[in-house]
Amino acid sequence: MSSEELVLEKVLSTGSNGIKKSDLKKQFTSFDLDQTLENLINDGKICVDKKGSAYYCWTPEVYLKHLNNVDPKFRILIERIKVIERKMDSHSNSLKDAINSLIEILKMENPDSQKALVNLDNFKIEFDTILSRSNNSIGWIELGHVRNELSQKFDLGKNEFYELVEQLVNTYHNEYELSTGGSEGVVVRGLLHGYVRGI
């Protein structure tokens, strides 16, 4: 066991009271105690400070407790630091949440990630299902309504939805017809076509 280990073990065993430097000197005579203590201080393993008229050695944790007990200024400072620490923790969590949400949004807005989920074939199947479920007696249904329903199935943005509708209607133009009006839809001949039905 090295001289540092011997001294550290002794300091640890003394608990909250610490140990007088002079007591250590009496116990460890076979090596240069001052040099050993300096090494331990430099490594942050012990603290040496004056208590009363004598110098004492502590581990850092015990030394902090000691200061907390004997030094009111230190105690106040520690309290303040703890408050700051708690605030930092709270802000850090909020920041973490915000970043996570941002990542989710970015993931949703990344066309590559969602287009991979939708192709014209599976879009058509779901689109047709919604049209067939329509309880409107004349068969026409608002595209905005279809989009709302489809948004539960697919991770599709508004523009992407209407891109797909345009492709669907162009590819299968004998199966669907569009009609003007509505608040959102596909623009044909400069007119907003917001209604659709299957033929």
């Binding site: 939708v118 014209l120 017809e177 044909v188």
Partner: protein, 555 residues
Amino acid sequence: MRLYPYGLKLNPFPSSPTPSFSDSQILGGKTHKDARQAIVTCFSDLYSKLHETRPTDRDFRLITMIQDVGSGKTHLAFHIKGLPDLVDNAVTSYIDLSQVSPRDIHNIYDSILGGFNHDDVESLRRNILYLICDKVKDNGKCVRKAFNYGFLDSLSGNNNLRNRVEEILKGKRKLNFQYVPEILSSDFSEIQIQIIRSLIEDRLRNDVTKVRSLEGVINSLSSIADMNLKLLNKLTIFQFDEFDSKKESLDFIKAIINAHIPSSILILILTPSSYDEIKKENSSVFDRLEKANYKIDLAGSNTLSELNDIIFEYIRHYDENNLFTSDYENNLATIIKLVYDEFADFRNVRSMLNIFYHATEKASKRGSYILDESIIDDTIKSIYPGSKIRGSLMNMPLSDFIKLKMSVNNKETIENDIREAVRNLLTLTNYEGYVNELNFDNSIGEGVDITYNDSYGSKIAVSVVIKKEASKTQAKISNASKSLNIVDRLVVLTGDTNRMFGGSSRNGNNVTTIVNMDNAKIVDLIYFNNKYKNQEILNDDLERAITLARSIKLC
């Protein structure tokens, strides 16, 4: 004499943006003909019920006709109004609600009266006068006084009464109306006698303001319908076009439906959006519309077969000498299909007829016996200058598009053609500074056709996989993907539409971009290549070519 294509003596297609009454007598298209049949059936059904019985409020029918703008609703309404089968048995009033403003009860009533044919109004007038004349047997004194019969007239008996009727109809004499209520009171109501007075004195529309309330208007309309049946043996049809969700329209129509005007048919013509707005605006009216006796469904009114049929119907109508043979018909059908497929904007009756009207005029001026693709191309360019072939970036003429589209279907040559086009496109973009370090030798690996550096210095590999079987396509893409160890991005140009939409896959930091090229893109590339090889790339073409390269993710 100026001749039109197929030996026609005049341009068969309508030129106005909305149908005229004379054009509407031609009706083409299965959907439209089926709709006509549905209305005729409804009419015949009601007419047969009233043959020998007095009409009641059960003898009212409601028909809705709902379809998009430009699909032929108004055309059908006019056609019905002038249909020979119905003209003899129906009095029809067509009202365009978009022309009624402000939409108060007097204006709507006035428009309804104005919507009747002049001939029908004159017939009613004539029949009333002759009815009064015939009442001489029961009420000779009053009738003679009504016709201002003098002493000398009396000497000739009642023979001159009929001459008096004709004189009144010609405006040479006037009826002394103060005796008429007594003559007609047993057959007609007080309101009807008021209307008869207005009719005989030719003040029918001027007296509109005398009707004070909506109830009064409804009673007047009921009276007119009753007189039409009684005196002309005809049903009354009210056609309301451009019916919308404005409060005044809804209140009026609701009142008419509730009144169940006997021996009448109410036809409401509206768009799906108006129907939807009515649903939101007034559930009570919407519920009535939902319970219409007939819902005329013009589904498919803008499909290719329907448009073909409509266009042919116009030509055949004026083809007195049967010069429009099946060969011409087939050729024209090919052109119609082309316009239909490549110009999404023209996929409706109105737009298509407009194009064919102008194309026919152009063909006539050029002395062309047929309508061909170059005429259609020039027509579209002149009347719709902003139009272009669907998805095309290179602004190619329709005639070139037709030729190239055929070559695109050649599976043997198309892949090499595209590869060559991509090389030339990259050469051009290299010259313009968008890419550099082009390498057309396959030095990287199997499946890769071209490599180059983009403007950011990333190394790009291009693989062209067109018109191959799905398994071969997948194998080539797999092989090409191995190059991702060497390049930063792999662009796969494919024509396989069954693949997932666009999208990218990632291999470490490297990315494969799949570009699904539709026919328009492929034709664009071939068109560009032809121009490039012939050194015909001008300034505008240059910009379009760069846009084309960007659209297929080359730069």
